[in-house]
């Protein structure tokens, strides 16, 4: 309980720091949103009125406090560029797509990396190990924007198996097949960058675990190799992998931003990029706040997962 409370306190602290720094940086950015919104030929009175309406007057701390007070109720202010939409409206539209992209990518990455790692670790130096290791290094070296373009060209343009852009994406509930068809290439592109990391980590940990006495005991007792690998080796070998998966959330968000541009997904990445370009600072601040909370929560969940994966951690605390 104390651990949970500490983690939550840390979350609040990180949230304050990140949002304030973001607010500060946006405040120092060139350009005046009110002037921009007022457009050409606007009188000073019009600009001042807009500044008041947008809550741009007052000191930095006053504005930050005001923003923070509203943010806890998900009122992040209106989008300055797309008038008529609140920042939360835009986030609500784009967040599910980014979440789906990240979750699908994680599933694919794990789905590819785990069996490959197990197969590689069983026969280190064998054919599977050599091929998968080489592929992993290749994937690690290949930036996602290059990989995405090649994937799109191969499977979209040349083979025509999947669309090159995500357009009118139906909900998973409405049309799961079409949804997954459209999201397949972007998710796979994002996943392949993770596969290399996961594969290398898992492989080395599994090889180490295979040297443990209890594994040899299991082998001596005649348990099947499959049962040993999946039941007795994989779980204790997953600590580093789990840590990497948690920390990778930030990288995944960054990667998703690129993938969203490459596959024209209206997700959080494109939203924040467009908002920065168009100086829609309310939206930028809102996205940063939400991503910060999400990142800290995911790593909080990873910490909790440790004790489930390895009973020694759970019992070691006593």
């Amino acid at each position: 309980m104390i651990v949970v409370a500490r983690r939550l306190a840390r979350l609040v602290f990180v949230f304050f720091v990140v949002t304030f720094v973001t607010f500060f940086l946006l405040d120092r950015a060139p350009g005046d949103p009110a002037e921009r919104l007022a457009g050409l030929n606007a009188t000073p009175e019009v600009i001042e009125g807009l500044r008041e309406e947008l809550g741009l007057n007052g000191s930095l701390f006053e504005r930050y406090s005001r923003w923070l007070g509203n943010a806890v109720t998900f009122d992040f202010g209106d989008s300055i560029v797309t008038r008529g939409f609140s920042s939360w409206d835009l986030i609500r539209e784009s967040l599910p797509k980014t979440l789906e992209l990240m979750i699908l990518a994680e599933i694919m990455a794990i789905g590819i990396a785990v069996p490959l790692a197990l197969a590689s670790a069983r026969r280190p130096g064998g054919l599977i190990d050599k091929v998968s290791s080489s592929t992993a290094f290749g994937l690690l070296a290949l930036p996602s924007f290059v990989l995405g373009i090649y994937m799109s060209y191969l499977f979209g343009v040349r083979l025509g198996w999947f669309p090159t852009i995500v357009d009118n994406l139906p909900g998973l509930n409405d049309d799961p097949l079409e949804n997954l068809r459209q999201m397949f290439l972007p998710s796979l592109t994002l996943a392949l960058n993770l596969v290399g990391v996961y594969l290398r980590l898992l492989r080395s940990d599994i090889i180490e675990t295979l040297q443990q006495d209890y594994v040899m005991l299991a082998q001596a007792r005649g348990l099947s190799e499959r049962r040993i690998m999946w039941r007795h080796v994989l779980r204790p070998s997953s600590l580093n992998f789990t840590t990497a998966a948690g920390l990778n959330v930030a990288g995944l968000i960054g990667g998703a931003f690129i993938i969203e541009v490459l596959f024209a997904i209206n997700g959080m990445g494109r939203l924040v990029i467009q908002s920065v370009v168009l100086e829609d600072f309310n939206v930028v601040a809102a996205v940063v706040a939400i991503l910060t909370v999400a990142y800290v929560l995911v790593n909080f969940a990873v910490d909790l997962l440790y004790s489930i994966l390895d009973p020694r951690i759970r019992h070691g605390a006593r």
Partner: protein, 584 residues
């Protein structure tokens, strides 16, 4: 049937001269059927410093063959269009109703408020949903569009706009005189765009279907303004709203997702529905920010077309049998550097002229535009009937050096700062320009400003020189406020010159082509002498519509309400979506 895979090249021109050359001018400006002779397209006046896209085009010779598929400026003496086989193919096909397409947008839309500055991405979507009061004929003259008639008094100080009966907005509200008055009044009152209707003094409802627009001074080319943003009519209850667009056009807004795109669907109450228009059931406008993504999307068939903002697609796809390229060759915006004539060193005419002499426009066009554009020496394309060679300083490094030496002897070294938006291509272009200037001793540095900050920075006069895309109106009156001293903050370079003012006024107040030509010659003379802008090129040719071969009706003339051919509109802003159709 059209042969798929054949590259079609339709070079479409649209400059004022183009229009004037063919419209030959009516002497009777008092009737709707025979509108005042001047050839142009209205300019909505909104500054668009990062999108060289506001052009339209005309096509007088749709069946002529292109000389070849080489990337060279496509224009002819008569301001008409050369066209490829695709045009002839299309002419033999019967349009088919139905189907929907996805159209790539380079710029995201930011809303639909017709009384505000509208982003290029929004304009492209709006163009499918509205029919302006005024249309453009194939000769680039004006003709009634949504309006039934637009009639001036004898001295062009009053215009009466009469609407067609039984017109409905998308929400079922009637399009009557009062709704037109409300729209025009809101536009006129807007601090952002109202300047475009500067001479308008009052707008009053005459009867159920008519309004009278009274001017403070004669304005013979007023109808051209109603072909653009000022002529978009929206349901009165939605005037000033940003998130929706309830108008009168062939398509209705079904959904708009900022950052992603919009979907428009056929308007069953479209006033030309009995002609079977529009043909398409729906258009998905999809925001595709990345050039590679756009190319892969069209090559895979995921989008059916988009407007390319650069020469790369034109050069590549001209030789691609699977993609059609439609090139607008005139009426495009100009690329230029604004020079603030009220601050050193550009308050001295010698420096401004030296810069013009030092810049090799032909070299820049060859290196950066694949020779697709034409050199500019003012805001009027040399193919326009309003153009005269006013003696703009040509490339002459020795003359430039002499002027620089003279200035430096009196004042000192010439240094300046060029404000520019963060666009890598434009920055690279500007750096090469600066190297020309450095050769004669003019030292410039680049100052990056925020995206979309160009207009604000220019208005505030917080600049010395400014990298800029604008104008592009084939009719000189469309850019009146940007050069006339009465333009105030929109007179970007702050130059006050009697030749420019008198010339522009003369051109605005008369419908006599000879008088107008004389006025615009005087205006160009003032610009050429004073060099308030460092002109580079007319961007005709580099902005192309790229489509799949099965998509027809883009870049070819449509049909106006009276059955006459309309201007084929090939810039991103002014496609005649009404008559676009898809081979099934």
């Amino acid at each position: 049937m059209i042969r798929h895979g054949r590259t079609r090249l339709v070079a479409v021109l649209m400059s004022a001269a183009l229009a004037a050359a063919s419209c030959a001018g009516s002497d009777d400006a008092d009737t709707v059927d025979d509108p005042p002779a001047s050839a142009a397209e209205s300019d909505d006046g909104a500054a668009d410093a990062d999108d060289p896209a506001d052009d339209t085009a005309t096509n007088d010779e749709p069946d002529s063959e292109p000389a070849d598929d080489q990337p060279v400026p496509l224009e002819d003496e008569n301001q008409t269009t050369s066209a490829g086989e695709g045009d002839a193919d299309t002419a033999t096909l019967e349009p088919v109703a139905g189907g929907e397409i996805t159209w790539g947008l380079t710029n995201d839309g930011t809303g639909f408020n017709t009384t505000g500055a509208i982003a290029p991405g929004s304009i492209r979507v709006i163009n499918s949903m509205t029919e302006p009061l005024v249309a453009l004929t194939v000769d680039a003259d004006w003709a009634p569009g949504l309006a039934e008639s637009i009639t001036p008094n004898d001295d062009f100080t009053s215009w009466t706009i009469t609407m067609r009966p039984d017109l409905l907005f998308h929400d079922g509200e009637p399009v009557d005189g009062e709704s037109v008055r409300a729209n025009l009044q809101a536009f006129k009152d807007s601090p952002t765009v109202g300047f475009a209707l500067g001479p308008v003094e009052s707008i009053t409802t005459v009867d159920e279907l008519s309004v009278e627009v009274a001017m403070s001074s004669p304005w013979a080319s007023f109808p051209f303004q109603l072909n653009g943003q000022a002529g978009w009519m929206v349901s009165p209850s939605t005037i000033g709203t940003n998130e929706t667009f309830v108008s009168t056009g062939p398509f209705m807004l079904e959904d708009w997702t900022p950052g992603d795109g919009a979907r428009v669907v056929r308007n069953p109450n479209y006033f030309r529905a009995d002609e079977g228009l529009p043909y398409l059931d729906a258009i998905n406008f999809k925001f595709l920010v990345d050039a590679t993504v756009k190319r892969q999307a069209i090559e895979s068939g995921d989008v059916q077309g988009y407007v390319s903002p650069s020469d790369e697609d034109v050069v590549d796809y001209l030789d691609d049998d699977a993609i059609d390229v439609w090139i607008g060759t005139a009426g495009a915006n100009e690329y230029l550097w604004l020079l603030n004539t009220t601050v050193p060193p550009f308050d001295d005419i010698r420096v401004r002229r030296a810069m013009a002499h030092a810049t090799d426009r032909d070299f820049l066009i060859e290196q950066f535009r694949s020779n697709l554009t034409t050199p500019a020496d003012g805001p009027i394309n040399s193919s326009s009937q309003w153009y005269t060679d006013a003696g703009y300083p040509g490339f002459d490094p020795a003359a430039a050096q002499a002027l620089v030496d003279e200035y430096e002897a009196e004042v000192g070294p010439i240094e300046f700062e060029l404000s520019i938006e963060p666009n890598a291509d434009v920055i690279e272009f500007s750096e090469v320009m600066m190297s020309f200037l450095a050769d004669v001793g003019i030292d410039g540095t680049i100052k990056e400003i925020g995206q979309g900050q160009s207009a604000i920075t220019a208005i505030q006069d917080d600049y010395q020189a400014f990298s800029w895309f604008q104008f592009g109106s084939p009719d000189p009156d469309g850019v009146y406020v940007f050069f006339h001293s009465s333009g105030g903050v929109l007179n970007w370079s702050n130059l006050v010159n009697s030749d420019i003012d008198e010339g522009l006024d003369k051109g605005r107040q008369s419908d006599d082509p000879a008088v107008r030509r004389e006025g615009y010659a005087q205006y160009l003379k003032g610009l050429a002498e004073q060099v308030p802008m460092l002109w580079i090129d007319h961007l005709n040719g580099v902005e192309a519509a790229v489509t799949i071969p099965e998509l027809n009706g883009i870049g070819t003339p449509g049909m106006l309400v009276d059955g006459s051919p309309s201007l084929p509109m090939t810039s991103g802003n002014f496609f005649a979506w009404t008559q676009v159709w898809l081979e099934q």
